[in-house]
């Protein structure tokens, strides 16, 4: 029996995940060849570690190709339509905190809430001959927040894979849905978060895919979850 645990392959998420596993008594043994994307947990023959990009981890969890993964909740909820059917969040890890938010230009002094944005969106076509444009890489989160949560139907999403904060000034979008940690990038781009515009308070999670496993395998996953949870979020 070998379960696969996928860890982010680079950046702060990788470092924080490695550190947390170390503290939990599950230190990751770096591969002999640093170019290899496979490793092991010390003293654990039952777990193999794979290094993948954070968004790939979300996709592989959805597909059931890996058993466990560490990735952001934003990516999980964005990538997997029926998250609860395909995966379960085993532990919240207390790092990689970021909010997915709705932000509009500061100078829209009349817009503080989603209700205000609803008014603006409804009249937009009439005034400007096109629908309100939202730049984001979070299609799914945006749609469910705007349409299902707030009943706003009439807007268009413009896909933005980088520098989303710059799109209103560049004229390619009117408002944005993006991730923010301190808000400083938004402020630098003269954008403000709506009072009720927080779509998701995201953090890194240990997530398990749902697939048929033996009782022993389930127990390994639960055990890793307990070890990680005991040290998660404690500095």
């Amino acid at each position: 029996m070998t379960l696969t645990l996928a860890l982010p392959s680079k950046g702060r998420l990788k470092d924080a995940a490695m550190e947390l596993l170390g503290k939990a008594g599950l230190p990751v043994l770096a591969p002999d060849d640093p170019r290899k994307y496979r490793a092991r947990l010390e003293g654990r023959e039952d777990v193999e570690v794979a290094f993948l990009s954070a968004s790939e981890i979300a996709r592989e969890i959805a597909a059931g190709n890996i058993d466990l993964g560490v990735t952001g909740e934003d990516l999980l909820r964005e990538t997997i339509a029926d998250l609860d059917a395909r995966a379960s969040i085993v532990a919240r890890l207390g790092f990689g905190r970021a909010d997915v938010v709705v932000a509009v230009p500061d100078i829209w002094l009349d817009v503080d809430t989603m209700g205000d944005l609803d008014d603006v969106a409804a009249e937009f076509r009439h005034r400007h001959g096109r629908r309100l444009r939202i730049a984001t890489k979070y299609w799914r989160l945006t749609q469910s927040f705007f349409t299902q949560r707030h009943g706003i139907q009439v807007y268009r999403i413009v896909e933005s894979l980088g520098a989303t904060e710059g799109t209103p000034a560049a004229g390619s979008a009117d408002v944005i849905v993006d991730i923010t940690t301190t808000g400083s990038t938004l402020r630098a781009n003269h954008l403000k978060v709506l009072d009720d515009g927080i779509i998701l308070r995201s953090e890194a999670c240990l997530v398990a895919s749902r697939r048929e496993r033996t009782g022993a395998e389930d127990e390994v996953i639960a055990g890793i979850g307990r070890l990680v949870e005991a040290v998660a979020g404690k500095e």
Partner: protein, 395 residues
Amino acid sequence: MTRAPSFASDILSLFSARGAEPVEVAILQPADPFLDMAGEDLRRRIFLTESETGATLCLRPEFTIPVCLDHIASRAGTPKRYAYLGEVFRQRREGGAEFFQAGIEDLGETDIAAADARSVADAHALIAHCLPDARPVVTLGDQAMFEAVLAGLGLPRGWRQRLARAFGAPGQIEAALDDLAQPARRTPLPEPVAALALDGDIEALTSHIAAGMEETGLSATAGRTPAEIARRLIEKAQLRSVRLSGEALAALKTFLAIDAPLAEAATRLEVFAGEAGLSLGAALDLFSRRAEAIAGHGLDPGAIRYDAAFGRPLDYYTGLVFEIGVEGAERPIVGGGRYDRLLTLLGAEKPIPGVGFSVWLDRIKEARGFSSTSEPGREAMRGMGEGARAPGFAP
């Protein structure tokens, strides 16, 4: 490709007997008009693809929009009644993705009451023809009536628009009413904006905002303009201290609770208007003429219900909305409505009134399978969510 059900040819004969002209609609359609009209949420429910040149295309998810687009492109004269029957394609998590729909779109008829009634009668005839043993149950709603009530109550423009948009979505209506009765506390405005907004000084406010836009590198013409923001700020400032009165709230709730056989509906509305002390004028007149015209088609107005809260929260619906179910069926078999705003939104040079309906042939097939034992599921229909009631965009 799946085969059309056996009764498809009967439907086509019926359409032709009722004087509607058959049209062919391309299966592959530009996706933008659908996403523009129905909203981004549709994206996950349709099949999208891309042309070599990067244009986004989709398999037609419904017929109304393509029929209207073809009408505009062909510069055909009006009035015109188009009949269609064919497959539509929808993504669902479970079950099939190809469905047959049939329907009639009536474009450019200026006698609104007559066209509305004919649309209901055509749809009713189709159901009676395909399901001779079923008891069809027709439910009508009226967007224009709700808007007339809002206007009659003298509500400010911004409120009227917000409520009119939420019409047909009970949760949103409730949230909007709560908010208007007890507005949430707003973030205070910075000076000098607060004072200018309170004074209603649109010019000073506009130039203040224009300066702010220039400073932050935001185009004053590509999106919202300084004047537009200034106007809305002033409107908000004026509404800041206004609350929805208890009487207006009670009147709205009384109105939305009206659910009566069509034969009694006009009287019920008159009584309501009298008690609330408002005039429903043209909307009530049209409502009565439509009800008479429906009876004139031989439909029993006792078997048709008017539900004052029934609507579709899509901004191109302007008046009548209706659906037809049969006993034992959970979902409506027909969805229809008036969309006087749609053709202009799709690019018609002049406004063209339109009304139409769409029938789900697979649901007829289902209904042929069971006996009429229980009341049709109005409750089940209510639970289906907003989009479910759009004739084109039902799940």
